[in-house]
Symmetry: C2
DNA sequence: CCTGCTTTCTACAACGTTGTAGGCAACGTT
DNA sequence: AACGTTGCCTACAACGTTGTAGAAAGCAGG
C-alpha cells in the first residue's frame, strides 16, 4: 500500500502541511515535531507523489535525453554521462530513442512526453531550424551540428577543426591517397558535411588534390555501412593508403572489409575514426580516433538546461563548445 | 504558452468534461460538437497534462527499464527492443542506469522514480530475493537469473543449456583444453554460475576433466576484464585450445589478448561468447556466440507487465523462458 | 499588562484531470 | 397525454501536493 501526507500527518498528530514542510526542509519546525514526523515517515515508508507535486509546482525533476539510436555506442556512452551529470542536479533522465527520422524527431521535440519533463537534451539528426521554430519552447539543449543558429541552446564540438587535424595527422605519416568514408547528401548529414570540409581543408593545406573518387558515401553510420563503403572503394580501384571514417563504427566496418580483402592495417592502409567509443580501444588493430570529451559535453548540456530552467527562459540562445583530442593507436602507428 | 481543458472548453463553447470526453474517445458526443472541440484542440495545440491525468487515474503511461550499464552493448540493444515493444502498448520507457550495485539497485527497485511510473522492467545484477521481498510491490518484471523464485514475474533464458550447447560445439570441433572466462564468486554472479555449470556439464558428458586452472574469473564483464583474464591464462601455461567467454565483451577482450600474444583464432585457439552483440558480427575474426532472442525477451517482459497492470496484481509470479540459438562464425570455423 | 515581533503551526485553495450523478431534450411506447 | 428510455451534456468532487494567509503561542521591551 501507498501512503500520503495525510496518513503521515495523522500518525504524527500534526497537519498535512507540517509534514510537507518537514519533507521539503522548511526551517521553522520545532525539533521534536520534526522528529515525530520523520519517525512517522519512516514507519509508513512514505514517498511523495511526484505527479501531485508536479501538478502543484510545475516541476517534475525529470529531464529527457533524446538520441537517434541507443545501440550506437557513442550515444550509449553519452547517455551514461548525461545521467551522471543530471544526478548532480537531482534529476532523473528519461531516455528517448527517436530513430532519427524527421517526423519522429518533431514529435519528440514538440513534446510527446509533454508535461512529464522539465526539459530536453536533444541530439537531432534530421531536424531543421524551421522545424524547431514553430514549437512550443520547452527548455531544450541541442547536441551536435544540425540546427545551426536555431532558437535553442547548443553544445557542439569543432567538427571541421577535428577532421582537419586528424586528416593532417595521416598526411604527416606520409599518406597521400587518403579516402573518406561517411559523406551524406541528405539534410541529415550536417556532421558529415562539416567533417568532409575539414578533410578537404587538410588536403588543400598540404597541397594534395581533393579526389571525388576517394570519397565514399554511407547512408547511415553503422558498421555494415562502413564495411560496404570500404569494399566499394577497394573494388573501384582507387587504392587508398589511408581512410578517414566519419565515425568509429564506420571505421570498425572498414577494418573488417580491409581484413577480408587481405590488406594490412596500418601497413597497407591506415584507418582513423571519430568518437572514441570503447570498441576502438580493443579492436584488432586498435583504432586511432578523434576523442570528443563526452563527459564535458554532457556536463555542459545539463548546466545549460539548468540555467534555462532556473533563469531567464527568453534569454537568447547560447552555443558552447566542448574540447576534443586525438587518440593515436595501432591503426595508424606502424609497429 | 500551454493550454488546459478549460481553454479548449471556452473556445468550443462546451463544458470541460465534454472536451475530456472527446479527448478520451467517449462515444456519446454529437458529431458537430466533437468537430468543434477537435478544432479548438488543434487551434490551441492542446496536450493533456500527464501529471494531472495520472493524479486522477493512477496511470502515467510510463514504464521504467532499469539496467546495470547502458554502454554494455547487450543492454543497449535490449533497451531498443523494450522501447519498441512498449510502444505497441502506448507506453513511454524511462531508462534507468543502476550501476549494478546492490544499494543502487535497491533504491531503484523501491521506487526512486516513485509515482511516476506504472511498472518496472528490471535487470538486476546484485539484488537478492530477500531484498525484493520487503519492497513495495509495484508491478515489476525481472530479466536474467539473479533472483530465482523471488516474488516477481521473470523472463529468463536457459543459461545452463546454452552454455552446455556451445561448449559441446567446441568439443565437437575436436578441442580438448577448453578454458572458461568470466566466473564470479560474488552473489552478483548468478549468470556466471549457471554458465559455468553448463560448461562443466558439457565437459563431463564428453568425458573430459574439469580443470580449475582453465577457469579464469572476471570481476566485471567488460572488454578489459576479458583481455586480462586471457593474458593470465596464457602466462599460467595452461595452453588452452579453446575459450568459452561468458559474454561477448569478454570474448572481444580475449581476442585482443590472443592477438597480442601472437596466437591465431581459430587455428590456435577457438573463441566463443554469449549475447550476440553487434560488435561480434564485425570483429576480426567474427565471433561465434550464443544469440538470445532479445526481441522476444523484450516482448515477453512487456507483455508480462501489461498483464500485471491490467489484471490481478496478487496472482503468483510467472516465469517465462525466451529462446536462443548458436551463431557460428569465424572464431570457431576454420577457413 | 500591553504592543509588536518571531516562531510554529494550521486551514484553505489551487494545480488539470476524470468519475459520478444527474438534468434536459427527443424519441418511441403505452 | 403520460411514461420510460436513450443520447448528450454539465456540475461537482476528488486525486496528493504546496503556496498563501493567518492564527496561536512565546518573547522582548516599554
Amino acid at each position: 500500500m501507498r501512503h500520503r501526507l495525510k496518513d503521515v500527518a495523522e500518525r504524527a498528530g500534526v497537519s498535512v502541511k507540517t509534514v510537507s514542510n518537514v519533507v521539503n526542509g522548511y526551517v521553522h519546525v520545532r525539533p521534536d515535531t520534526r522528529a515525530r514526523v520523520e519517525e512517522a515517515i519512516a514507519e509508513l515508508n512514505y514517498r511523495p507523489n511526484l505527479s501531485a507535486r508536479h501538478l502543484r509546482k510545475g516541476r517534475t525533476g525529470v529531464i529527457a535525453l533524446a538520441v537517434p539510436e541507443l545501440d550506437i555506442p557513442y550515444f550509449a556512452e553519452l547517455a551514461r554521462y548525461v545521467v551522471a551529470a543530471a544526478a548532480d542536479f537531482g534529476w532523473t533522465v528519461l531516455i528517448d530513442q527517436t530513430g532519427g527520422g524527421r517526423e519522429q524527431e518533431r514529435v519528440v521535440a514538440s513534446g510527446i512526453t509533454d508535461h512529464l519533463i522539465d526539459g530536453l537534451i536533444f541530439s537531432p539528426l534530421a531536424l531543421t531550424a524551421e522545424d524547431l521554430a514553430g514549437l512550443d519552447n520547452r527548455p531544450m539543449v541541442l547536441l551536435g551540428e544540425r540546427v545551426d543558429h536555431g532558437p535553442a541552446d547548443h553544445v557542439v564540438i569543432d567538427n571541421v577543426g577535428a577532421a582537419r587535424e586528424i586528416t593532417s595527422h595521416l598526411i604527416g605519416l606520409g599518406r597521400r591517397r587518403i579516402a573518406a568514408i561517411g559523406s551524406q547528401r541528405t539534410p541529415e548529414g550536417a556532421s558529415a558535411r562539416l567533417r568532409l570540409t575539414g578533410y578537404a581543408d587538410a588536403l588543400r593545406a598540404a597541397g594534395l588534390d581533393y579526389d571525388e573518387a576517394l570519397v565514399a558515401p554511407a547512408p547511415a553510420w553503422h558498421r555494415a555501412d562502413g564495411a560496404a563503403a570500404m569494399r566499394s572503394l577497394l573494388t573501384s580501384g582507387v587504392r587508398p593508403d589511408a581512410v578517414f571514417c566519419f565515425n568509429d563504427t564506420l571505421a570498425l566496418g572498414a577494418l573488417r572489409a580491409l581484413h577480408e580483402a587481405g590488406l594490412r592495417v596500418p601497413e597497407d592502409v591506415a584507418v582513423v575514426g571519430f568518437d572514441d567509443i570503447e570498441d576502438g580501444r580493443f579492436s584488432i588493430p586498435t583504432l586511432t580516433t578523434v576523442a570528443p570529451d563526452k563527459a564535458q559535453i554532457a556536463r555542459l548540456a545539463v548546466e545549460l538546461l539548468a540555467e534555462r530552467l532556473d533563469g531567464d527562459r527568453t534569454a537568447s540562445a547560447r552555443e558552447l563548445s566542448a574540447p576534443y583530442r586525438l587518440e593515436l593507436r595501432e591503426s595508424t602507428q606502424l609497429p
